[in-house]
Amino acid sequence: MGKIRTPYLLLLPGFGFLFTFFILPIVNLAQTSTQTPVGGGDTGQYEQTFRFQNYIDAFVENKEQFGRSFIYAIIATVLALMISYPLAYAIAFKSGKYKNFLLVLVVAPFFTSFLLRTVAWKQILGEEGFVVPTLRNLGIISQSTTLTSTSFAVVMGMTYNFLPFMTLPLYASIDRIDPRTLEASGDLYANAFTTFRKVTLPLSMPGVVAGTLLTFIPAAGDYVNAAILGSPNTKMIGNVIESRYFKIVDYPTAAALSFTLMAAILILVTIYIRKAGTEELV
């Protein structure tokens, strides 16, 4: 009997932790999302009235920011994938004895604060940085164009910040591919491009799926990049939730937005995994 109970006992701390810090807050958040202000009460005083209209109001009011969040997140994910795939491929197949060193370099940004790195991008893209003057001199952007406080800067910041989350799962997946299967493909009349399309890419799909999810999900809810690198015109849904909660003290709307975001991500991810996951995965 004791032997059967032991695993469950070992799981208790984990369940306890998740219950206290995940289930309870979620339930609390759900309750908050349908509350309304107490008539004649102070700011921040709400009572439960089960007003589900909160959701519709919150969404209608912020649909622009919702749309922007998903568009930015998708662009950042695609960019991160395009940058990471060749990088992960090179580390897995071409780096030889420098493999571990390069992997450390991929993770190295984590050694400094997320905020600091984002602020650094503000300087890189700022008037005093080398990027803007160079682009202006080359005539790629006009003399009056700036890069900070633009959607370009926000997407760049997001792409950069989530790059390791894309690179590492891609690397893990590509590194597992037996190079002999690539030789076999060449041996069976496939040129380099066909080999990539028919063998390398399908075999690395688990990494592509994991990497895009690990990038897209946090990117869709991100507010740091938009806050530091963006402007009021580039506000994402994360920024709205943040200001509703901490500045306007409108808890029900913030809660309703959070749930809506969660549901939207869940639906998109489910569709994505269905599409990507069934056919080619091993």
């Binding site: 002999r180 076999a184 399908p202």
Partner: protein, 382 residues
């Protein structure tokens, strides 16, 4: 150009191929012709350059010096996918994400062959696994994967099929069965097979011609019987089976035979089997060619007297004796257990005799340990 290469047919001709990796010569000035339609084996120990040679034929490596021709066509620098050559890889390298059917169809689809279904089914029947078409490679046993790897290659009817230690991952019984099957399939489809292996028994079972490789060069080439009965170097004598090599000198000439003096005892050997360059020789005799007899038994042929049984090991079909000779050497003798008696005991004083025709002679300055220390079970170089 590429279209010329893909339709090339004929003998495979390697001309003065050298492949260097930095200071290391993996293949050293190797020339070789593999006739169309033959079953050819490249046999040698780990690191002898046989896999590198195979990879150069496949186009996975480019020779540092030299040229490779298929019939009239120079394919030295042709890309692998443009060569009419297919490979059965050492660990099969099946595509794990594709079904067995799609694995086999891969090459056909790349070449735009029309009737993929019929071709794939035909070859699945040839390897007797038509019921596995819908499975994934990981759901197959090692032996089944091996056959699918073979099917995936031969379905393309290449001018040349390369087999890189194809049976290395199989257990002994399955390996013996597959050897017979491979040989049969080669006859059936009539393709040129080039087989790389470190297993001398495997090479001898299957190949028409064997090239024994050592340190990037070909030591000797010939039929299995040729190599076994008439090895030209100590390396070949030791690597293909076992040999007793006894130091001696040529002391006379008797028609088609030579007379040799081995530690004061005269023996005779056929001239055609002497590869010595002067009078100093090593006389070689295979252990199963020896006969042991007690001192008072009359014997014919070549005789070496003064032996003493040092060790007896019963192996079932045969008994292996170690016989100490007066000059301090221990000779190995295999006696068939076909007469119902185990006649000799440790310590018996015996004579050793054999038919003169089974004697070969190597150069006297050879390293007689060459080829005997290598462990053929160690897998081949990467």
């Amino acid at each position: 150009m590429s279209f010329d290469a893909s339709s090339a047919r004929g003998d495979l001709i390697l001309t003065r191929i050298t492949k260097e990796y930095g200071d290391f010569k993996a293949v050293d000035d190797l020339s070789l012709t593999i006739p169309k339609g033959s079953f050819f084996a490249l046999l040698g120990p780990s690191g002898c350059g046989k896999t590198t040679t195979l990879r150069m034929i496949a186009g996975l490596e480019e020779p540092t010096v030299g040229s490779i021709h298929l019939g009239e066509t120079d394919i030295t620098t042709t890309k692998p996918y443009q060569r009419p050559i297919n490979t059965v890889f050492q660990n099969y390298a099946l595509f794990p994400h594709l079904t067995i059917f799609e694995n086999i169809a891969f090459g056909l689809r790349r070449r735009g062959i029309k009737d993929v279904d019929a071709e794939v089914n035909k070859v699945l029947n040839l390897v007797e696994l038509p019921h596995l078409a819908g499975r994934k490679p990981t759901q197959l046993s090692g032996g089944q994967q091996q056959r699918i790897a073979l099917a995936r290659a031969i379905v393309n009817r290449p001018a040349l099929l390369l087999l890189d230690e194809p049976l290395g991952a199989l257990d002994l019984k399955l390996r013996r069965q597959m050897q017979i099957e491979l040989k049969w399939i080669q006859k059936e489809v009539g393709l040129t097979f080039v087989h790389v292996t470190h297993d001398q028994e495997e090479a001898m079972t299957m190949a028409d011609t064997i090239a024994v490789m050592n340190e990037g060069q070909i030591e000797q080439m010939g039929s299995p019987a040729d190599l076994y009965d008439n090895p030209e170097t100590a390396f070949v004598a030791n690597f293909l089976g076992q040999s007793n090599l006894i130091k001696g000198t040529i002391s006379g000439n008797d028609g088609d035979s030579l007379v040799a003096d081995l530690y004061g005892q005269k023996i005779s050997l056929p001239k055609s089997r002497s590869h010595a360059t002067d009078n100093s020789i090593y006389a070689g005799i295979r252990p199963e060619k020896f006969r042991i007899s007690l001192l008072n038994t009359p014997v014919s042929g070549n005789v070496l007297s003064g032996g003493r049984i040092e060790d007896v090991s019963y192996i079932g079909v045969s008994t292996q004796y170690q016989v100490a000779m007066p000059w301090g050497q221990e000779l190995i003798v295999f006696e068939q257990n076909d007469d119902g008696v185990a006649p000799f005991n440790k310590g018996d004083a015996v004579n050793i005799s054999w038919a003169p025709i089974f004697t070969f002679a190597l150069r006297g300055d050879e390293d007689i340990t060459a080829g005997s220390e290598v462990n053929p079970e160690v897998l081949d170089e990467e």
